[in-house]
Amino acid sequence: MIRVVLPPHLRALARVEDEVELEVNGSVTQRSILDALESRYPMLRGTMRDHVTQIRRPLVRFFACGEDVSHESPDAALPEAVISGTEPFVIIGAIAGG
């Protein structure tokens, strides 16, 4: 089971209180996690990556085991600790004013 931590605004949108747990089929990558997340919470589509291009939104970042993986290939394998559910895949809204 993959654990995913969402930023507060997306938790509110998806109506979840805490981190979410997802079944991910096949390789565990950014893309497969986001596919599973958007499938279970369709209201999140378009909020983390573009509907058409699938490119990450500029002010959204992805972290795994304390490392920023935002600029890694979306198809790159994630660390074993994320795959095993020991560590969560963390989605963060960039710190910015306003």
Binding site: H9, R45, G46, M48, H51, L59, V60, A94, A96
Partner: protein, 388 residues
């Protein structure tokens, strides 16, 4: 007894203000969608419990929200708890998918170069007068979309953006937004829209083809002051009984058309400035109009720090200042283009919100004013529903 529901969009959420027909005691609910920018909230004229909201964020993009119970509960269209459990499978989650039709193309940037069309947000939602599932969305960068399934999916009416003049359109200071959508109640195939800073456009075939309707507009500081496009129209208002008569507040001047926008004449008269954002029409008097003069070109606050609504009972040219109950010293707020509305009670109620977070209401056509709330986040939009 009749009642009113005021739908307020702010920089940090939506608020719903309700009162009975006396409009003296108000209940405030919200913030809904706390922390998000709510550009616009508007109810269906056919079913007032159907309300659409544009929720947006620089981080997470555009969200469309819908309520089917008058604003008590909200869902992204297609993703209600019942729909998520549907035996038909999971929803497609496309209620926020605004994709330009075909090649997006380019428009003019601030420096005169060409710049790609990029979707940013929905500025204005205009529910159809006939069908609660049919709603139009005016977006930045300027385009018109429509949904015929209650906001679950959207398609662009791309004849507008693909008009020959598109490469000459340019953003105003707030972005290149399509902010005004007026549907002719006698002929829904006729729709007029306004874009900052391109001007006004009209379709007579339900959105397939469009023409600029800017003849008579004069913008003295653009290269060609009477150009076909390039005017910074801030708002257009129409009384439903007279769809051929349009009133416009633009950057420089208040204008009037009596031929559906084919030609315009200036009716600024004795207004204290040539600038402002909203303009609206009295619910029962089609020649009574309201504006809020603002000092420009860069200050964008009321002249002399006095917040005054100006009313013309003659369809323009002759204006009176309405000041009772409004701050007449040290007031430096702005009133944005979508932040004024009227109810249809007798006497007509007028409402507007400020960037200082006040929502002012007049229950007597503008003669006197009171704040309903004083300390909301900056107000982006105000719409009023008159309920039976």
């Amino acid at each position: 007894m009749s009642s009113v529901r005021v739908l307020v969009g702010t920089r940090k959420g939506a608020f719903i203000l309700t009162a009975d027909g006396a409009r003296k005691r108000w209940k405030v609910s919200g913030p809904h969608f706390a922390g998000w920018e709510i550009y616009h909230v508007k109810g269906s004229p056919v079913n007032p419990n159907r309300i659409y909201a544009s929720q947006t964020s620089g981080w997470f993009g555009q969200i469309i929200q819908r309520s089917d119970d008058g604003g008590k509960t909200w869902n992204t269209p297609g993703s209600s708890p019942e729909e998520l459990k549907s035996a038909d499978g999971m929803p497609r989650g496309e209620s926020n998918k605004f994709v330009y039709d075909g090649v997006a193309g380019t428009h003019q940037w601030y420096d005169g170069t060409q710049h790609p069309w990029e979707f940013k947000r929905v500025w204005h939602l205009e529910p159809s007068p006939n069908d609660p599932d049919h709603v139009y969305a005016g977006v930045e960068d300027a385009a018109l979309f429509e949904s015929r399934d209650g906001g679950k999916s959207w398609r662009e009416l791309s004849g507008l953006r693909k008009h020959d003049t598109g490469p000459k359109w340019q953003p105003g200071a707030g972005g290149m937004c399509l902010h005004t959508i007026l549907i002719d109640p006698k002929n829904p195939q006729r729709i007029s829209v306004a874009i900052s800073a391109a001007g006004a456009f009209r379709t007579d075939d339900g959105g397939a083809t469009w023409k600029p309707i800017n003849r008579g507009l004069r913008s003295q500081y653009i290269p060609d002051p009477t150009a076909e496009v390039g005017h910074c129209v801030h708002r257009i208002a129409m009384h439903p009984s007279r769809p051929d008569t349009l009133f416009m507040q633009k950057h420089w001047d208040v204008m009037r058309s009596d031929d559906g926008g084919d030609s315009w004449k200036e009716v600024s008269g004795n207004l204290p400035s040539d600038f402002g954002f909203p303009i609206d029409v009295h619910a029962h008097e089609p020649e009574t109009i309201y504006v809020v003069p603002i000092k420009s070109d860069s200050e964008h606050y009321p002249p002399s720090g006095r917040l005054r609504v100006y009313r013309s009972r003659t369809g323009g040219n002759e204006w009176e200042a309405l000041t009772k109950g409004l701050p007449q010293r040290n007031c430096y707020v702005n009133v944005l283009r979508d932040a004024m509305s009227v109810d249809s009670l007798e006497p007509c109620g007028i409402y507007f919100g400020t960037t200082g977070g006040q929502v002012y209401a007049s229950a007597n056509g503008g003669d006197t004013w009171k704040p309903i709330v004083r300390d909301l986040p900056a107000v982006l939009s105000v719409e009023v529903q008159t309920l039976p």
